[in-house]
């Protein structure tokens, strides 16, 4: 018995020692990594020592971050944790649900009714100041609602339709509310939302475009008006990074470009960076982690797209939006002569003046429900 006890404890001791020292030495030997693809951030480097930072506690906490970031086989450990959580039945992490078929869904908070009222009031008063503008408002329900069949069992997030309905009711009558829920819901078995990102796909945006065109009194272009090209099938989006879930299939991105026979061409001006481009797509961004920024280069305060195709009325439109609009703009270029794209988080000038100075005819306010309820910049629409 004693001898066996000795063997057992010796094995235990050796086990711990080998494990501790193994990781210790391996971490020292392997070179430091600079960037984490999956987390989309720089990994910590060895902190500089100073007595001041030691006394303040900065040096020690920075050193700990360094050890954590540079431990050997970091991705292996992260993946192992994600896998063991799946085994344990965990269906959400970091505010993201893991649904069926590899779909990730952003968990949403219950919107505050007072906040909704304030935002709608801001929109209504903006509308009042611009009576000659034809106004449209699209509030896109997120995948957490449209694809709710895919949510994990018993998951019960707040019902976005309820709050979208509130917005619709409080909106002034001269703003046309474009309801895309039914359109999207009908197509829910198609690839209309990304699985690993919180945006909708180009196809999803296309269906919404059809409904929007109908509400605007335009004839939507059919899909054969466009060349549809898959430009990547290796897209791991925002929800993948946020959730930490692993072993999921990536998404693919399709770009709709008007067929050359339709002779569309554009001039795109990015006001904040003082750059212009001939394309609404920035193909270089496909090499980056956030491939969704291929659409209109992500977010800028003001972008002006001048088209030079022959539209009958040569109407001009301003789109006040979040990043969901970037996928739908490719469909609108065929209907307008000028498109002004505004991001209220960065746009500090007066929207009223922009409209007046450029004789803009139409205004489309387009937000995904989640951003609309959580972001405070919508209040700035009237400034």
């Amino acid at each position: 018995m004693d001898k066996n006890n000795k063997i057992y404890n010796s094995v235990m001791a050796i086990l711990l020692i080998v494990f501790l020292f193994g990781i210790f030495f391996l971490s020292i030997i392997t070179p430091d990594k600079e960037f984490s693809e999956s987390e989309n951030r720089k990994l910590a480097a060895l902190p500089k020592y100073s007595t001041k930072s030691l006394l303040k506690g900065n040096f020690t906490s920075d050193f700990e971050k360094y050890i954590s970031d540079q431990i050997v086989a970091r991705d292996f450990w992260v993946n192992l944790k994600a896998d063991s959580e799946k085994v344990m039945g965990k269906k959400d992490n970091n505010g993201v649900y893991l649904g069926d078929d590899g779909y990730l869904f952003q968990m949403v908070e219950k919107p505050d009714k007072k906040d909704i009222e304030n935002k709608v009031n801001a929109i209504n008063s903006f509308s009042n100041k611009n009576k000659n503008l034809k106004k449209y408002f699209m509030l896109v329900p997120n995948s957490v609602k449209v694809l709710e069949d895919k949510l994990p069992k018993f998951a019960d997030p707040p019902n976005q339709l309820e709050y979208i309905g509130e917005v619709k009711n409080k909106l002034d009558d001269d703003i046309k509310f474009v309801d895309v829920y039914d359109t999207l819901y009908k197509a829910k078995d198609e690839y209309i939302f990304y699985k690993t990102d919180h945006h909708w796909t180009s196809k999803g945006a296309y269906y919404a475009y059809e409904k929007l065109a109908e509400d605007m009194g335009l004839t939507p272009h059919k899909e054969d008006y466009f060349d549809i090209k898959k430009v990547t099938d290796d897209f791991y989006g925002s929800l993948y990074s946020k959730s930490g879930f692993r072993n999921l299939s990536p998404d693919s991105i399709e770009l709709y470009t008007p067929a050359s026979k339709n002779k569309e061409s554009w001039n795109v001006q990015y006001y904040d960076k003082n750059i212009s481009s001939k394309s609404i797509y920035n193909m270089d961004n496909l090499k980056k982690k956030d491939k969704y920024t291929v659409f209109l280069d992500g977010n800028h305060s003001l972008v002006k797209i001048t088209t030079n195709n022959n539209t009958k009325d040569k109407r001009k439109i301003v789109i006040v939006r979040d990043s969901f609009a970037n996928s739908i703009i490719p469909f609108l270029t065929g209907h307008f002569s000028e498109i002004y794209v505004v991001d209220l988080r960065y746009f500090t000038d007066s929207l009223d003046e922009l409209i007046k100075d450029n004789n803009i005819d139409d205004c489309l306010i387009l937000y995904s429900a989640n951003t609309f309820f959580e972001d405070s910049s919508v209040d700035r629409i009237g400034w």
């Binding site: 001791a13 711990l16 006394l55 069992k153 019960d156 930490g244």
Partner: protein, 476 residues
């Protein structure tokens, strides 16, 4: 520094072990002391001075008390001074704000108190240094003339931050006379891995469940969710605290020390009295030895005994935190213990075991609500919803979702909170070891460690994940 961190496990511990084992015997305590100071200073670069002060001060007091043993008056004066200074420091850093708050409330004043962060471990090391001075004064232990040895006793990193509270008498001989063996090291490794797994795999994840439920507005919580939440916390605090004690005991063994057990499956208790003999044992022992027994313990009349219990439980509650809910928590248990002493204990013994189990668990679980909510009205609301008041639903989809996604975790946790797993494991171990067939022994001796390796690997994975910090383009 904390045990459950990558820097402790993969940098500090390997380095300390190397230094310790290459040092000759006479330097080993010094190495341990130095390492412990680094361990403490790592998180508290300034507050370490308080600990160094308390240690040096009580070392000197010990020497003086011993020197003036014949001079009763001087002797007593030094002893009293030491206790006053120790308690004074503890009170100042831990209770000053609370005291001022209450003075303001009673006398309607508006005194301000500086918002001092609490020095880590002060409740633990103060109780340890006081235990030394008291025992030297009462001539129960030899004075420790070697400041390195004494410093090692106070600051030893295995038990510095979260106990077990080690009385000087229990460790006196081990300071200068202990043996590190491979067997002890193996036992320590086993214990450490168990403790780490308890903390990282069980406690932290149960904590997530409790955090979600605790932050749900009380009107939206179903009855079952309320129970799930507090049961989650009940298990979390057990695995967190006992896991930490396991790691402390395990680390102690790696350096040749044997510490007392601090937890003994408290949730299988059949009475509240029994619970407090199985939960945070070292604290109970400290209060018994230095407060309860000096007051007369249970050798005085019934009324005086109840008074003694009240004092001990008031202090026990207060020790846990500078807020009224903690004091009430202590008094809450005092009430049940007195009732059990009066008649309930005897009655329970005559009942089937299940009655005692359910009664004890109910009292303890409701007690944890009191422990967790500093705001007493929120506490009352939570308890009310547990028992069906407040017109809440029995179960809602949120509750079902919690069961669905945390069910496996809760079942495993409940199993691990009982001796069930341990008895299976020990059973297996003895059967393997009794076999004369050395090959079976070899295989068994490899399979079990492999299971421990798996625990170690998983714990590491979860620890690495704590630093997972994606940069999100979320608003875009």
């Amino acid at each position: 520094m904390v045990f459950s961190s990558l820097i402790f496990i993969f940098v500090f511990l390997p380095l300390t072990l190397i230094l310790y084992y290459i040092s000759p015997r006479f330097l080993k305590n010094a190495v341990l002391l130095m390492a412990s100071l680094v361990f403490y200073a790592w998180g508290e670069p300034v507050y370490i001075l308080i600990m160094i002060f308390t240690t040096s001060f009580d070392y000197v007091c010990g020497l003086l008390i011993d020197k003036y043993r014949s001079k009763k008056a001087a002797n007593k004066a030094i002893f009293v001074a030491s206790v006053v200074v120790n308690l004074g420091i503890l009170c100042f850093f831990k209770y000053y704000g609370f005291i001022i708050q209450n003075i303001n409330g009673i006398l309607n004043l508006n005194l301000t108190s500086p918002n001092l962060p609490l020095p880590v471990g002060i409740s633990f090391y103060t109780f340890q240094t006081m235990s030394y001075v008291i025992d030297v004064y009462l001539d129960k232990v030899q004075v420790q003339k070697n400041i390195v040895s004494f410093g090692t006793y106070v600051t030893m990193f295995p038990q510095l931050v979260a106990g077990p509270i080690v009385k000087y008498g229990d460790i006196e001989k081990q300071l200068d006379n202990r043996q590190e063996t491979l067997i002890k090291f193996g036992e320590g490794s086993e214990r450490f891995i168990i403790g780490l797994a308890k903390k990282v795999l069980l406690a932290n994840n149960l904590g997530l469940l409790w955090k979600n439920i605790k932050s749900t507005p009380i009107g939206e919580l179903s009855l079952i969710s309320a129970w799930m939440g507090i049961i989650g916390f009940t298990l979390q605090i057990y695995f967190d605290f006992s896991g930490y004690s396991d790691m402390a005991i395990g680390l102690g063994k790696m350096f040749g020390f044997e510490f007392m057990e601090n937890f003994n499956y408290p949730y299988i208790s059949k009475s509240v009295t029994e619970f407090w003999r199985r939960w945070h044992i070292s604290l109970g022992e400290w209060f018994k030895e230095y407060v309860y027994i000096p007051l007369g313990g249970n050798r005085v009349g019934k009324l005086k005994q109840y008074r003694n219990l009240l004092v001990v439980w008031f202090l026990t509650g207060l020790w846990h935190g500078a807020s009224w809910n903690f004091i009430l928590w202590g008094l809450y248990f005092c009430l049940f213990i007195i009732i059990e002493k009066a008649f309930l204990g005897k009655w329970l013994k005559g009942m089937p075991k299940a009655v005692g189990h359910i009664y004890a668990l109910l009292v303890v679980v409701v007690g944890w609500v009191l422990f967790e909510f500093e705001d007493l009205s929120a506490c009352a609301k939570y308890i009310a919803s547990m028992f069906g008041f407040g017109g809440l639903k029995l179960i809602d989809s949120q509750g079902l979702y919690y069961i669905y996604t945390n069910g496996a975790l809760l079942i495993i946790a409940i199993l691990c909170a009982t001796p069930f797993i341990k008895s299976i494991f020990l059973n297996l171990k003895t059967r393997i070891m009794q076999k004369d067939n050395t090959r079976a022994t070899m295989i068994g001796s490899i399979l079990v460690p492999v299971a421990f390796l798996l625990l170690m690997v998983l714990s590491t994975a979860y620890l690495v994940n704590e630093s997972y910090n994606p940069f999100l383009y979320f608003r875009f």
